[in-house]
Structures are given as structure tokens and as C-alpha cells.
């Protein structure tokens, strides 16, 4: 197969965007809407809410911690077989869950099995998408990630309808059928050979070289800090406004507002990321700082209009930083190492995500309201954006290079730490 020098930036790439759209819908949309099954599980197994919520927590944890495995496998075998088998695993997990007779069955089937299926699908797809685009990368990312937001809207009523007609067992069976579409999405991921691929070596060599790559490590730290603060409003916003004596219905409406502005933010930021010249890191820093500020201002706002405005601002900026965060990685590590890079990044930043919500809950228990937790979340985001300043080319105002840096020598001898500045000049 002929090796391309440049990513195609279109053509079959748009089919990959479609595939990524459906995949993010089927992975994260399902995860986010799983709360509807939560009530059914509590009733059916007569367990406490805390124990039932472990089901989705295990699923998310396995998905994120298993990302490097998915990446390593797709470096070796290409994304298509990995994603297709991931889809089968995810569907199998849901299928087995529909026969569950105890909560442990759910932990193993949905948490472990479906979680590892999801780990094998999401990261390789986004990495594959990065390889297909360079000029329009942010836009493609933004469009693909809108799948998450839209599916949360669609799946919540769908799951409710399924449960009211088939009870939770039948509903899980049909969600399993839905997850089978991940296999079809995987089939769309046509392998692409780029010129720097052979020089990059196998997954082990790539992982090792990444761990010595300074900018990548700094970027990972930045994203971990950002992730710690990112999820807190999703978990605590409703509770916070109910503390301020809002009714449940307007509080849920506030979350919908955040979701809509999140969606808009993703697309706008994707378009902006490609339209604006210069390193994407600056845009990321902008969005992260704005998100941090809007989070920190949450406790100060009391009036409903101020809270809604802040919610819109938070939704927009937090949605905006997602595609830029993903599309920045190929600039740092090159499209040859993108699979492993993304996998490693997801795994480390998931630590931030896992710590963020409990930390916020703990602060709330200690101080009695959500002021401290929102401020701390904002602080984490601002710290993350601060670390972003240390990335190379941040203050450089020349045109952004879309070609991956000359990192061929890196792969050849992973044990030698590279002189970073010298190699990254074009």
C-alpha cells in the first residue's frame, strides 16, 4: 500500500468522523444515561445506592485505565480489528448483564467486560481520526465529539421507554444490540499508512519513547490537572443549586443548558482551532482559563440569571476545550505515535477524573457547602492551564507546523533522551 506523506484531510476521513461520532455516542452516551438503570437496579437487587453506583464507576475506570492496551494493540494490528473486537466485548458485557442475578454479576459484566470493550474502541478511534486530518483536525475532533452530547439527550428517554416496555433485563438486551453498532463503526476505520509509521517501531518502543518525551509528560500533567476539575460541575451542579433552594425541575433544566452549550462549544472550538493560526496550545489555555474562572465564580453567583449565565459559560468553555485537547496531541508527539500517546494520556488523566469528584464531595462534607469544591476545581483548571505555558512553541508566533516533527531518530533509539528543542524545529 502506498504510504502518504500527508494526512488526507478529507475524503474517507469524513467517514471516520462519522464513525467516531457514533462511537462516542455509543460509549459515553450510554455511560452517561446509565443512571436510568440505576433506579431499577436498586429496586431489583435491593441494594444500597452507593453499591449500585459502583457499576458505572468500574466501567469508567476500566475504560480509562485500559486505554493504553487499546492503543498498543491498534499500533500493532491497526485500529479496525481492535475496535471491532472492542465492540463485540462491550455488547457481550451488556448481554450477560441482562441475565444477572446479583450485583457482583453486574460489576463483572458491565464494569469489567463492557468497560474493557469500551477501552478498545474509543481511544483508537480518536487516534485514527487524528491521523486522517491535519489542517481540519480540530474541526473533525469537535464534530466527532458532539456525539457525546447529542446521545445523552437521545438515550435518556430511549432507555426509559425500553425499561417501561421490556423491564431492565430486556432493556439491557436491546442496549447490547445497540452497542453492536460499535463493530460496524470499527469496520469504517480504514487503515492509513503514513510515511513515518515504519520508523516508529512497535508499541513497546513507542511507549518507552513517549515516557522520555518532555513536552508529552508536561502535557499529561496539565491534562490531569484539568481533568480533576473538569467533571465536578457535572456531579455537583444540581446538588449545589438545590442547596440554594431551587426546585428539582429547574435544576435539571440547568444541566440541559450546560449540555447544549457544551455541544455548541465543541463545534465552535473545533472550527476555531483550525481557523486560527499558531499553536493550538494557546487556544487550549484560553478555554481552560475561562472554564476555571467560570467555575470559581459559581459560588459567588446567587441570582438565577447569574447562575444560568455562568452555566452557559461553563458548558461552552468546557466543551470547547475537549476537541482542542485531543487535537493538540499529534502536534506534540506526531501522528506515528498517536495511538500510544493517546492511550497513555487517557490512562493518566483518568486519575484526575477519579480523584476529582470524591475530593469535591469530601470538601463539601467538611465545609458544608459547595463553595470550596467549586473554587478548588477552578484552581485545578487554572493550574493545568499554567502548565500548558511551558509547552514548546507556546510563545512562538510563526505559522503552525502541521507536519509532525522529525522524530524518526527518536524511535530508533528510545533509550537516548532527545535534545527536545533541537529536534522540534522544522
Amino acid at each position: 500500500m502506498a504510504r502518504r506523506a500527508e494526512p488526507p484531510d478529507g475524503g474517507w476521513g469524513w467517514m471516520v468522523v462519522l464513525s467516531a461520532f457514533f462511537q462516542s455516542a455509543l460509549v459515553f452516551g450510554v455511560l452517561r444515561s446509565f443512571g436510568i438503570f440505576f433506579v431499577e437496579f436498586v429496586e431489583a437487587f435491593e441494594e444500597q445506592a452507593a453499591r449500585v453506583s459502583w457499576v458505572t464507576s468500574i466501567g469508567i475506570a476500566v475504560q480509562q485505565l485500559g486505554s493504553p492496551v487499546g492503543s498498543a494493540l491498534s499500533t500493532k494490528f491497526g485500529p479496525r480489528p481492535v475496535v471491532m473486537s472492542g465492540g463485540i466485548l462491550a455488547a457481550l458485557g451488556m448481554l450477560l448483564a441482562s441475565f444477572a442475578t446479583s450485583l457482583t454479576h453486574l460489576y463483572l459484566s458491565i464494569g469489567l467486560l463492557s468497560g474493557s470493550g469500551w477501552a478498545l474502541t474509543f481511544t483508537p478511534t480518536l487516534a485514527c481520526l487524528s491521523r486522517y486530518f491535519s489542517r481540519l483536525r480540530s474541526l473533525a475532533m469537535g464534530l466527532a465529539l458532539t456525539g457525546v452530547g447529542l446521545s445523552s439527550f437521545a438515550f435518556a428517554p430511549l432507555f426509559q421507554w425500553l425499561i417501561s416496555h421490556y423491564a431492565w433485563r430486556g432493556a439491557l438486551l436491546l442496549v447490547s444490540a445497540l452497542s453492536l453498532h460499535l463493530v460496524a463503526c470499527g469496520a469504517l476505520l480504514r487503515p492509513l499508512s503514513l510515511t513515518e509509521d515504519p520508523a516508529m517501531g512497535g508499541p513497546g518502543a513507542q511507549l518507552a519513547s513517549l515516557l522520555h518525551h518532555g513536552p508529552f509528560l508536561r502535557y499529561t500533567v496539565a491534562l490531569t490537572l484539568i481533568n480533576t476539575g473538569y467533571f465536578i460541575p457535572y456531579v455537583h451542579l444540581v446538588a449545589h443549586v438545590q442547596d440554594l433552594d431551587w426546585d428539582p425541575l429547574p435544576a435539571a433544566f440547568l444541566l440541559s443548558v450546560v449540555a447544549i452549550s457544551d455541544l455548541v462549544g465543541r463545534v465552535v472550538s473545533g472550527w476555531l482551532g483550525d481557523a486560527v493560526p499558531g499553536p493550538v496550545a494557546r487556544l487550549l489555555m484560553l478555554w481552560t482559563t475561562l472554564t476555571g474562572l467560570s467555575l470559581a465564580l459559581f459560588p459567588v453567583a446567587r441570582a438565577p440569571t447569574a447562575l444560568v449565565a455562568l452555566a452557559v459559560a461553563y458548558g461552552f468553555t468546557s466543551g470547547a476545550l475537549t476537541p482542542v485537547a485531543f487535537s493538540m496531541l499529534p502536534e506534540l508527539v506526531g501522528t506515528g505515535r498517536i495511538y500510544c500517546g493517546l492511550g497513555l494520556l487517557q490512562m493518566v488523566e483518568s486519575i484526575g477524573g477519579l480523584l476529582g469528584a470524591p475530593l469535591s464531595g469530601y470538601l463539601r462534607d467538611v465545609t458544608g457547602n459547595y463553595t470550596a469544591s467549586f473554587v478548588v476545581a477552578g484552581a485545578f483548571l487554572l493550574a493545568g492551564s499554567g502548565v500548558l505555558i511551558t509547552l514548546p512553541h507556546f510563545f512562538c508566533f510563526s505559522a503552525r507546523t502541521s507536519k509532525p516533527q522529525n522524530l524518526v531518530t527518536v524511535a530508533l533509539d528510545a533509550k537516548v533522551p532527545l535534545p527536545k528543542e533541537g529536534l522540534e524545529e522544522d
Binding site: M84, G170, A177, H181, V183
Partner: protein, 331 residues
Amino acid sequence: MRALPGLRGPRAPPPQPLLLLCLLAAVRPSSADSHPPASSITSLPVREERLTRCGNFSLESHNISLTERSSVAVEKNITLQSPSNVELACQFTASGDPNAVNVSWTKEEQPLESGYVIRAADGVVHTRYSFTISNSKQLGRYSCFFQEEKEKRGTFNFKVPELHGKNKPLITYVGDSTVLICKCQGCCPLNWTWHSGNGSVQVPLDVQMTDKYVITGTNVNETRLKIMHLSEDDQGTYRCHAVFPLGEVEDHLELVVLSYLVPLKPFLAIAAEVVVLVTVILLCEMYTQKKKNRPDDGKEFEQIEQLKSDDSNGIENNVPRHRKNESAASE
């Protein structure tokens, strides 16, 4: 149960069993030295709740205020589950002379002759009707009427507590087990019974079949029927009856039992659709690959032909070629 005099008499003392219970609790030795003595009373929660909430012959008093501007009929709903002494009071702010107001009481549109007093003071007419409710026939609508220019009416509606049940049918599968719950707010029925059946045929459930039906209830105000090893015959309407001293209430729950084939058919349909999609996508890709390779083969073929013809031209017509070259070179 002692017959109590009317409400004009002394107030009824607390029921004797409760008093006895308090004494017993006080005397009972505390289980651990660290526990304060108060906990020995609270160690009998269920029984005590039953007696304080469901105590017989408690006093119920209710009040309705009417003015000229009140709507024509003001109604108050009261739930009552055990026999009680009842005191109903109505007051009416008269625009003119309070003594000219005509006051009357009815029960279910039947006028009541005695049992009530009327008092007028400061332009307000007060009336009070005291009676005892001891059986279900005495429940119903009691109304006080004030006739000045227009007739103003206040109604007290006595009912037994209602049961709150789920309106949605409960969906289960063959071989599964399920729990049907009936509960009511703040009530304590004497007994709960379960029946199953559609329409007029009501079959009481055979609780002797303990491997099939288990009736439990953690609180007095709820009952749980657990049905195990469901089959399609168990489908239908189940009714729970709550028996109160003053009457009976029932609620119905619908149970739907599906076989596994019901969700399996859409599942297989969607799985087949996915297989078709994957095949189509892979076939399309192979087809476009073939198309890409075929023009290349065609080109190679043409090139081979070209070379062959050039060679043959060269061998046969050396001279003209030379001349051509020369002519080309000279130009």
C-alpha cells in the same frame, strides 16, 4: 372497650395497654451499661408506633371558617382509620346581625336534629357538632350550613385512608421473581390480604405455597408480596386489601409476564442489521480497492504494448527512425 360519655364529659384517659407498656419498659433492665435508660423505651419501636398512631378513641377536631366572600362550598377531607371521638367546628363571619343567621347541620344530606351547639359573639357565629365514629356507616360527609342572604356551606368528608399504588404495570420475565408492594401513608390496618384474578373472579392467594408466595412487610403501613418462579399463568391483576376498623380499602397492581423471546426478536433483528452493515462496508472497500488496482493493470498493459511496438518499429524501420531523429535534432 368502655363506652365513653359525650365530649362534654371528662377527656378519655390514655389507652391502658400503652400505660402498661411504659411501665414495663421502665422496669426492664438495660442491656448495656453504656446505654442511657431512655433507649430501653425506644427499643420497642414498632409496637409503640402502632399504639400511638392507631390508638383507639383519640380526639379528632376540625375547623372550617366561612365568610361572606367564601366560595359556596368549602370542603375538608379527613382520613380516619379507627373509631374516634369527633368534634367539628364551623364559624361564620356575619355581615349583619349574627343572631339572624340560620345554622343547620346535615349528614349525607339528611338533617341532624341534635348534638350541636350554636354560639354568637362579636359578629361571628360559632357552631360545634360532637359525635363518635365507631363503625363504617358513620363515615361520610358532614356539612354545616349558614343561611344569611346566601347559603354558605362547609363540608367535612370522612374517609378511610387511600392506598397509593403504581399505575404502571409491572413487567417481569418467566422464571424471574418479583415483589408487589402496597402501602398507605401513616396508616395501620388491622390486616392485609392479597387476591388475584381478573374482573369478577377473585381468588385469594394460597399462602401455604411458601415456595411460590411470600408475604412480608417491614412496617405496618405496607405489605410486600413476593412471587417466585413466575410463569405466564401468573399474569394478571393482583389486589391488596387493607382492613381497617372503619372499613376496607383495596388497590390493584398489574403484573405482566413476558417470555424471553419478546426482547430477543428485536435483538436478533438488530444484530442481523449490524452484520449486514459490516459486510456492506467491507465489500465496498474491497470493490474500491479492486477498481484502483484495475486501471493500474490497464496502464501497465498499455505500456508493455507500447514497448513491444517501439521495439518492433526499431528493428524493422531503422532508417526511417534515424531520419526522424535527425530531422528532430535539426529542428
